[in-house]
Symmetry: C2
Subunit: 394 residues, 2 copies
Amino acid sequence: MTAPDFNRLFSTRARELQSSAIREILKITELPEVISFAGGLPAPVTFPVDEMRAAMTQVLAGNGREALQYSTTEGYAPLREWIARRCSTPEAPVDADQVLIVSGSQQGLDLLSKALVDAGDTVLVETPTYLGALQAFSLFGPKFIPVAADEDGLLPESMDESMRGAKFLYCLPNFQNPTGRLLPEARRRQLAQRARELDLLILEDDPYGALSYDGETPPSIRSLAPERTVYMGSFSKVLAPGLRIGYVIAPPALRAKLVQAKQATDLHTATLSQMAVYEVIKDGFLDTHIPTIRALYRDQCQAMIDALERHMPQGVRWNRPRGGMFLWAELPRGMDASKVLAKAVEQKVAFVPGAPFFAADPEIESLRLAFVTVPPPRIEEGVERLAGVIRSFA
Amino acid sequence: MTAPDFNRLFSTRARELQSSAIREILKITELPEVISFAGGLPAPVTFPVDEMRAAMTQVLAGNGREALQYSTTEGYAPLREWIARRCSTPEAPVDADQVLIVSGSQQGLDLLSKALVDAGDTVLVETPTYLGALQAFSLFGPKFIPVAADEDGLLPESMDESMRGAKFLYCLPNFQNPTGRLLPEARRRQLAQRARELDLLILEDDPYGALSYDGETPPSIRSLAPERTVYMGSFSKVLAPGLRIGYVIAPPALRAKLVQAKQATDLHTATLSQMAVYEVIKDGFLDTHIPTIRALYRDQCQAMIDALERHMPQGVRWNRPRGGMFLWAELPRGMDASKVLAKAVEQKVAFVPGAPFFAADPEIESLRLAFVTVPPPRIEEGVERLAGVIRSFA
């Protein structure tokens, strides 16, 4: 009864898979005594539990058999129509036939990789970029080329002829994970222009755009270059992540391939979940709900900035996000955030080192702090603990 | 505003994707006036709508915030434990740590492909085999080698040394899709033995095993060769397919890679859906529910066999499944089922031609008839229409 030699059976991509940083982080955050700034978990107090319960009851009472049956790969039509209306702009209308419902926008990354990436293809990413995207793309063997960035996000002027021929540029212009950066309007216009000059496809990932603290964001890149932008959205940060409902808006030729890829991947996203989400949002719920999330996260962000100012030793720097869930910090030059993390966890405080978010040349001093999962008094306490750990390294 | 040339951007696998037969079939079945034996849709009368509504209310009232939050990639622990207990046999116990919850067992096929298949690898499949599996595997570029079969399923004695080195053998031993065939116990034992001799991994896909009309099935292949079998199960046919909840039971080394692949693919399966499924089944619901599905499907199967006997012209043959949702038929020699389908749809009756289910050398005369979606009087009417179409070809 000898088992087969799995090392012989594993695919090349499986052999290259390493135990994931995100995964190890989620394990740390599971310990209740740890004050965790690590996970990217939305604040559970914002979840519309009662509305979701009412919606589930409504859908199952009214259309129970439909809700529990197989459904089309494209997704629930009323939900696709709602998304199309919501994302349309006068210059760049969206048709419901361009929308594909996915099992969380992470699945959008998997399907886009399937449709676009052959091993060895070039994929352009921000510096740094979303780790989950690097993981999703990596299963298909691309070569990553980072696009330079500063504290306002990527620098379109740095994109040169060597990037022509890349399969796409992946970017997160609104309150980026991990940095919280917001790409200014002028840069978005430059980026649209530069993408046209270099004939590049853009994947615009936007889970956090609705979480602008002042309610404003610059125009989407899709609205500026609709012919060459794929837009990814999610209900994870404005409703609830555990439902796994996201969406992709793509030019028709690409959307057709994404539908075929999704059919082979998981047939379709859960019918009942799609119908319940639509039931919750169809009469304007998000218009009153999202402002309450924004207000909460703005206060929590401010609480963290205040605590950082009070406790951090000289030489530690951080940004001041205008939306989203994350703040980006830098330790004094040469101090390795992953070593600080090991010590911090002993002191029952956690964060994510920035290095894994870089496709190349990691900044070992950088780190990501999530300020939305932990309430303000715990933020204060956690930052104080973390400051103590950093001092012990200096 | 010229769009990029997507034909240049598509991956090799995307370029090879064709508009899927299953997909076109589902479109046909959507027309209400068509009597469809095409779709593999479980009978909606069997869906536990009231129980699901009660479970959703219970879960959201008791653990609403947990149910709507991100959760672990492995899946909801109580559900994994339930599955482990359910699938354990004295000779082949299952630990909850071997179970991975997936977004429908179709996703199991995607993740197993990711973990195991490099382009050009050999994958062994039955003759014929599940079309959705061919589609899932195909995204990763394997070379398919069919294993010979007769009316009782695959023939282990036909597996020779040329199959050594294959990444796995994929099989559906219980009431197979598309044929409804049940692999006898003696062949399962031969298969386990042959797999050991050739050092092969087996993927045992078992969505229909619970739908045995007499309640019996031979031992699972996993129970006969646990060290080299991956078992895939699903709640789609015993509870409801629209929930998209399936599971994979794998040897530990492989399961670890599947978890990593799933994390990159969609983070995790919807928390609320997993908790609601567990809430429905935890106190033995399936033990009373499954027999009602079996009785219904047995009667529908008999209704179709009776109708075939009454109406089909000479030269048309079919099998008599002892479980599941499908029956396999053969038209008179040389009659192309896909041509018959085109005419049948004009007469408002649909089925699936068998050819796409063959990895090689399709039998153009074969076809699959699903007897569970349409009630008996419509089965009678549909078979009569279909018999008329076939007569017009003879």
